[in-house]
């Protein structure tokens, strides 16, 4: 099977958000970057799929040249190659332009199955996976937390407000991965050494203007300073009074 895992380089989840002087972009100077949380699950599923069905795993990202760090970290977990669609202006791309560029590259590389994270933890848009599937004309299951594949089709489960949905689909397909699908492995020393020697392709992504125009950015108003109303079970009576009379939530 030809397997592709799409990943995104994002600020670490403990990053403090600062807005730059233009008030329409983030001050990224203090950011530490990492592979987006759910993309790690996508990489794991790609490697597991190779282990059980055979084939090759390619890690694909659209980002700055520095994203080679994240791509190599993912290759170290058992992938075979990496492709970076290098774009220094990657932060300004929207879901549409990213999905189109990824779809064009996937078309060129060829694949039976593509794994993405269910959402990237920077823009929280949860759109690129199902959009790129649509541009490719492929099946797609979003938020998969269970997956089974046979030669040309598969079944997946996804959590909805009503319960677990079972979805059957045909390949080729794009699967976006939720927590619970697997436990991402750590890279071993051997994998890390091997990843240094694996081929990394850099290519220019399809040029595409972003349609999502950012008018302004703000940090939300801070909550009023918290207050401790007492200690131990003795404080419960005061809490009830406050929830009733002050907060009016009881």
């Amino acid at each position: 099977m030809k397997i592709i895992a799409c990943i995104k380089r994002v600020p670490a989840t403990d990053a403090q958000a600062k807005i730059d002087a233009s008030a329409s972009s983030l001050d990224t100077s203090s950011f530490q970057y990492m592979t987006s949380f759910y993309d790690e699950i996508a990489v794991e599923e790609a490697v597991k799929t190779k282990e059980s069905h055979g084939g090759e795993v390619t890690i694909l990202t659209l980002g700055p040249a520095e994203a080679s760090k994240e791509v190599r970290e993912c290759i170290a977990k058992g992938a075979d190659a990496g492709v970076i669609l290098t774009d220094d202006d990657w932060q300004a791309r929207d879901c549409r332009s990213t999905a189109k560029a990824l779809a064009a590259k996937i078309q060129e590389l060829g694949a039976d199955i593509v794994f993405c994270g269910k959402v990237a933890t920077d823009r929280d848009n949860a759109a690129v996976g199902p959009m790129l599937a649509t541009y490719l004309g492929w099946a797609c299951v979003t938020d998969a937390c269970e997956l089974e594949l046979d030669g040309s089709s598969g079944t997946a489960k996804r959590a909805t407000e009503a319960g677990l949905e079972s979805v059957s689909f045909s390949l080729p397909a794009v699967i976006t991965c939720d927590k619970g699908l697997n436990e991402p492995r750590y890279a071993g020393l051997k994998g890390i050494m091997a990843a240094k020697k694996k081929p990394l392709d850099e290519a220019a992504p399809q040029a595409e203007e972003s349609h999502a125009k950012v008018v302004s950015l703000e940090t939300p108003a801070p909550r009023p300073e918290g207050k401790i109303i007492g200690e131990g079970a003795a404080a419960v009576e005061d809490l009830i009074q406050a929830l009733r009379n002050e907060a009016k939530v009881l």
Binding site: P11, R96, T121, E165, S166, S210, R223, L239
Partner: protein, 319 residues
């Protein structure tokens, strides 16, 4: 007036609250709304919608098994034919599954989980969270069709009125993936994002069995409360991921959020800081959770929670 196509969800004919809020968002922004329903029970949903304030209703018939790609193709076709300048759905598991595909069919960008929608500047302007709410972005779309999903609890349902016509149209046949079944949640348990009260537990409970303290407190609210969990206890396997609150779990904004034995890591705060009132119970007076808690009690959960459960049960019994 600009035309909008709305994907409206229902459960066997009963309109979903999040979809009504989506309708409310569209009507408040002055859009001319065609509400689209499909699936088993869509008849009842269409007639319920006709007096909801929507301008027109479209019932897609024959779509009895659910396929998100087919739904998206049909919704996009409707948007194209009607010359709509907006497409909206609720940011539910289903809405978020369908909307990006509709956007791609329309070669348009998408804004997920929007928290406001305004047309007073002449074009549609929206706000949505980035970085799990650490930043609020105000955005406009340069695409032909403005596509977005509305965050549950961020908009009001419409007041209703009117008597819109229901038209029927056959759903297309082609589908690449379809749903073969749904295993319902046990005992009709409330989803953590839908509940008006959330009682959440963390590692401070020390053992999986002690989570019953949190469940007991939630039960005392008489059906209004759902339970939530920190990542620490989800990773430990005490609770399912569907209950995890935070940046890599659910973002909730209930009227009342009670955190029991949760330290208040930045990734947890990202998921609950927009709650109306926050209560924290933690034995460490320096725990960061107290910085966002409107009411903090410093103390042992094993002592405070049973007392609180009893007091809440008493309040509920009086009500």
């Amino acid at each position: 007036m600009s035309k909008a196509i709305l994907f409206i969800e229902h459960a066997g004919g009963e309109l979903r609250r999040a979809s009504l809020e989506c309708l409310g968002a569209a009507l408040s922004a002055g859009l001319d709304v065609t509400a689209v329903v499909m699936g088993p029970g869509a008849d009842a949903a269409a007639s319920a919608l006709s007096s909801s304030g929507a301008n027109a209703i479209c019932h897609l018939t024959g779509a009895d098994t659910w396929s998100p790609d087919r739904a998206a193709a049909d919704l996009a076709a409707l948007a194209k034919e009607s010359g709509a300048s907006a497409f909206l759905a609720a940011a539910t598991a289903t809405g978020k599954d369908v909307a990006p595909r509709v956007a791609a069919h329309l070669d348009s960008t998408l804004f997920s989980d929007i928290t406001s929608l305004d047309s007073s500047s002449g074009s549609l302007r929206t706000t949505r969270p980035w970085l799990a709410g650490k930043v609020i972005a105000t955005c406009e779309s340069a695409s032909e069709v403005f596509c977005a999903t509305t965050r549950p609890n961020a908009f009001s349902a419409p007041e209703g009125g009117g008597s819109a016509e229901v038209s029927e149209r056959a759903a297309s046949a082609d589908c690449k993936a379809s749903v073969t079944g749904v295993s319902a949640k046990e005992g009709g348990k409330l989803d953590v994002q839908e509940a008006s009260v959330v009682v959440a537990g963390g590692r401070g409970l020390q053992e999986a069995e002690h989570f019953s303290l949190v469940e007991g407190l939630a039960d005392a609210f008489g059906g209004a409360a759902a339970v939530g969990a920190s990542r620490a206890i989800v990773d430990a396997g005490w609770r399912p991921h569907s209950e995890q609150v935070g940046q890599t779990g659910k973002v909730v904004s209930p009227n009342l959020y009670i955190a029991v034995g949760i330290s208040g890591a930045i990734q947890h705060l990202a998921g609950m800081r927009t709650s109306k009132t926050i209560v924290a119970i933690n034995k460490d007076a320096d725990a960061p959770i107290f910085k966002v808690a409107d009411y903090g009690i410093v103390g042992d959960a094993f002592e405070v929670v049973p007392a609180l459960t009893e007091a809440i049960a008493k309040v509920q019994a009086e009500a």
